[in-house]
């Protein structure tokens, strides 16, 4: 009820601020066609690293969060989208372009690179990020409880649990003395993940083969090389570029009969072996809630960074059978979802 109350009060506050903003822009004789159409609605600038199609499920979660905070796109909030379509290098330029459209709020969704690009644009507007990895370590925020500045958001534990994926692979293939990991060298979290993975490999007593892939074309050679390297299984580091290409990775893993694990459930759903990582539905939904709260007038510095602590294990028994491996009963009973 408390929530609903805020909701009822919020649009008016938003409208007033919007009016003031409009007056200011009018005084500066700064006219854009984008503004003429819906002058009373706050505008969210949404920066995404991929295409809207790949982002469909994430966008739905984001909209659900917005709705919980009392905002519905087209009714009381407008959203301007900016998609990098997989070209992560374009993110800083797109962020600058989005900010120039004078949006009221920037949502940087889908990874640390997006958050860093939005922050680098130097906008004075609030930025809400949705990412994996440690936002303090990446220099996005000052601390979790007091983010500081105009940026806050939601972080999943996907990056932190990379060693856990190695452990799971090792458990499935206890006989394999060598396992391969794939990292995206362009990812800001790649180094820290590899470091953790190496120390985990040492603990587990396996050899680690590090492979790099930053383009979709490189995927096939990476997967095919696993068998050539005599590595038992393939562990993907947490990276949005990989996550959004789960289907392709699943197809390749099946094609080369490579046991593989990624961060997102999309992978086992598409025929991959298993996944272990944060629940992106939760993180995107919470980003939507935070965006709504900022639109209602809350200061980003008052909103602590939220960690989505839920990590889920999804396994595909069919694939395991196809690959000739068997999950231990402990793993099966501990899995959040089992695909048979």
């Amino acid at each position: 009820m408390r929530r609903a109350n805020h909701t009822a009060a919020a649009p008016h506050g938003g409208v007033r601020r919007r009016d003031v903003l409009l007056l200011m822009t009018g005084a500066a004789a700064w006219t854009t066609s984008a503004y003429a159409q819906k002058p009373s609605m706050p505008v969210i600038g949404y920066l995404g690293p991929e295409t809207p199609e790949l982002f469909d499920s994430r966008l739905r979660a984001f909209h659900q969060g917005l709705r919980e905070a009392g905002f519905v796109e087209g009714r009381n909030v407008a959203i301007e989208y900016q998609w990098a379509r997989g070209q992560y290098a374009r993110l800083p330029a797109l962020a600058t372009e989005l900010v120039a459209r004078n949006v009221d709020l920037v949502v940087a969704s889908g990874g640390a690179q997006v958050a860093l690009a939005a922050k680098a644009s130097g906008t004075s507007k609030t930025i809400i990020f949705e990412m994996g990895g440690d936002p303090v370590q990446l220099g996005v925020v000052d601390s979790l409880s007091r983010p500081g500045g105009n940026i806050t958001g939601v972080s999943s534990l996907s990056v932190d649990v990379s060693p856990k994926r190695l452990e799971l692979m090792h458990e499935l293939l206890p006989a394999a003395s060598k396992l391969a990991v794939v990292a995206n060298p362009t990812s800001p979290t790649a180094n820290s993940q590899l470091q953790k993975l190496r120390s985990a490999a040492e603990t587990l007593g396996v050899q680690l083969q590090t492979l790099n892939a930053s383009k979709e074309e490189e995927f096939e050679s990476v997967v095919s090389s696993v068998t050539q390297q005599l590595a038992g299984g393939l562990v993907f580091t947490s990276d949005p570029y990989f996550a959004f290409r789960s289907r392709r990775l699943a197809d390749l893993a099946m094609k080369y009969r490579v046991p593989a694990i990624t961060q997102t459930r999309d992978f086992p759903m598409a025929g991959g072996l298993m996944s272990y990582g944060g629940d992106f539905m939760q993180s995107h939904r919470r980003a939507g809630i935070y965006a709504g709260r900022v639109l209602r007038g809350e200061k980003p510095s008052d909103l602590p960074v939220q960690l989505v602590t839920k990590v889920e294990l999804v396994i595909n028994l069919k694939t395991a059978k196809f690959l000739g491996h068997e999950f231990s009963p402990a793993l099966v009973s501990g899995a959040d979802e089992v695909i048979e």
């Binding site: 408390r2 601390s143 409880s145 649990v161 060693p163 856990k164």
Partner: protein, 575 residues
């Protein structure tokens, strides 16, 4: 003007008194009702919030109990020295069922770590690390279930460590790390009234659960937890409900209940405006009724005051008019109460006053012909019945000047009037002195009555003495006039006998007079008396014989009388 002001004062007093008589009991009644309503509502809020707090505490307890209950399944079987895969399966299954548990450590009967599973970090199997001196294990061994104080992971997420030992040493212990952020699901579903909420504080007063997760993630900060602790402290350890202010400064009603085990406090709060909404509604209802009743009381008092002061105003005006002499004015009040009676009294009084005035006027007229003493007597008694017509013995005295007509024709009118006024002034004094009744003037003559209307002792003697005195006085005057060359004389005639006396005339022209032959006789005697002569009839003579010197003048032929009448003279020089 003054009358008007006085009227207004009385009106105001009545208005005020009547208004107060109605309004004060109403206000007192309203105030008492409001006070009891307020107390009842407070009691209701106390009870309601108390129940809510207990229910919320039970839910939080269920959350914790659910976890400890699950953990209890991990300490059922005795440890052997062999690695136990089944326990790992149980632990991983528990992860799925209790999402708040972040990691689990299973210890054997010697306090050695046999299994560590985590959602984030790498698992450890058979590390055999020694936990026997760890306070979690020591605590659990002492109390079976041990709770740590809440710690904030990276200064943000609240974590709790729970340790449980089995019912015997052989089954070992389990230590679990619990992310308390997940209480949010429980706490956000607790509704207190319409907009009230519940939150949880740990023993030192730090926020560990609140519907707004962003506050919980800063629970380690004093600035965040301070306002919540203030509410908890306002309630105090005795419980019950208290009013305080939340972080936004809004007044809230709050109640608390303890969560046994981790020693937390669940506080439920509701905006005071909502908690007291029924009493506010009742108060405004009472106030409205009071206002309406007061206005009604005002109208009633106004009408009543008018009813009371209007007759008074009429009485006042009426008495003023009567006082000003309008004795025929009548005050018309038909209220059927004391006022009407009073008005009737006034009206009667006015009638009596009119009568009294008429009487006074009559008395004033009497004074013209009655001797002043007699007039005063009549005036004092207020009774003029002595003037009523009757038949009585009277002595009639006539006197006039001789030769006055000839004299008056020869001198100036002023001189005539001067002589007459000297003459009458002198006579008037004598008449008054002897308390005789002056009947009439006619030119130089006048008629005086003795023994009527007021009877006197020896009327004849008094009349004779009167006549002697008259002669003496007038002869004195005549001597003076002669020196001025005026030749007049003065004669008197007296007669005694029955006559009819009484008032004659009409309205304002009423005179007292005597009718009878005695009057004629006296007049005739006067007419026949020469200067310096006092003639009396036989009756008078008989009455004064021996007392005054009489001259028997023998029978005289008097005009109007068939036979000669015996006439006597009084010598006034002798006396």
């Amino acid at each position: 003007m003054i009358a008007q002001e006085r009227f207004r004062g009385l009106f105001q007093k009545y208005l005020l008194a009547l208004f107060m008589a109605v309004a004060i009991p109403l206000v007192i009644n309203g105030a008492i009702e409001a006070w009891f309503g307020y107390r009842d509502q407070r009691a209701r809020v106390d009870q309601l919030l108390g129940v809510q707090a207990t229910a919320a505490a039970a839910e939080i307890h269920d959350f914790i109990y659910g976890i400890t209950n699950q953990l209890g399944w991990l300490v059922q079987v005795s440890w052997t020295d062999e690695p136990d895969e089944r326990r790992r399966t149980d632990a991983l299954r528990l992860f799925r069922q209790a999402p708040a548990i972040v990691s689990l450590t299973l210890l054997d009967n010697n306090g050695l770590e046999r299994l560590y599973v985590s959602r984030i970090g790498l698992n450890r199997i058979e590390s055999r690390a020694d936990w026997s001196t760890d306070r979690a294990l020591v605590g659990a061994r002492a109390t079976q279930i041990w709770f740590s104080t809440v710690s904030y992971h990276r200064g943000s997420e609240p974590y709790l460590t729970v340790a449980i030992v089995g019912n015997r040493q052989a089954v070992g212990a389990v230590v679990a790390e619990v992310n308390l952020k997940l209480i949010w699901d429980v706490i956000s579903s607790i509704k207190v009234g319409k907009t009230g909420i519940a939150f949880v504080l740990d023993q030192p007063g730090r926020l560990i659960a609140h519907p707004d997760i962003s506050l919980v993630l800063r629970g380690a900060e004093e600035a965040t937890s301070g306002p919540f602790r203030t509410i908890r402290d306002a309630i105090g350890p005795e419980g019950g409900f208290a009013t305080s202010r939340d972080a936004q400064g809004r007044a809230v009603a709050a109640s608390a209940a303890p969560v046994p085990g981790p020693d937390w406090t669940v506080v439920v709060e509701q905006p005071l405006s909502e908690a007291y909404a029924p009493i506010y509604a009742a108060l405004s209802r009472t106030a409205t009724l009071l206002l309406i009743s007061t206005i009604f009381a005002g109208f009633l008092a106004y009408a009543l005051a008018h009813r009371m002061t209007d007759p008074i105003k009429l009485l006042e005006e009426g008495t003023e008019r009567i006082g000003a002499g309008s004795f025929d004015h009548r005050i018309s009040i038909q209220t059927g109460d004391e006022f009407q009676r009073l008005a009737n009294s006034f009206n009667r009084m006015a009638g009596e006053l009119a009568l009294a005035q008429q009487h006074q006027e009559r008395i004033a007229k009497l004074k013209r012909f009655l001797a002043p003493q007699v007039a005063d007597l009549v005036d004092r008694t207020g009774d003029d019945s002595v003037l009523d017509g009757r038949r009585t013995d009277v002595v009639v005295v006539f006197c006039d000047l001789r030769g006055f007509t000839a004299f008056s024709a020869g001198v100036a009118p002023e001189e005539v009037m001067s002589v007459l006024s000297e003459y009458y002034e002198a006579l008037g004094r004598v008449i008054a002195q002897f308390e005789a009744t002056l009947i009439s003037f006619s030119g130089d003559g006048l008629m005086v009555l003795v023994n009527a209307p007021v009877p006197v002792e020896q009327p004849a003697l008094r009349a004779v003495d009167l006549a002697i005195e008259m002669q003496k006085i007038v002869q004195g005057l005549i001597a003076g006039w002669r020196s001025r060359g005026y030749h007049v004389g003065f004669g008197i005639g007296l007669a005694e006998g029955p006559a009819t006396v009484g008032r004659i005339g009409y309205e304002d022209r009423l005179d007292y007079t005597a009718i009878g032959s005695v009057v004629n006789l006296a007049a005739r005697l006067c007419a026949s008396a020469a200067d310096r002569e006092i003639l009396i009839d036989a009756e008078v003579a008989a009455s004064v014989r021996g007392k005054r010197l009489l001259d028997d003048l023998g029978g005289r032929q008097i005009k109007g009388f068939d036979e000669a009448i015996p006439v006597f003279g009084i010598s006034f020089n002798a006396s």
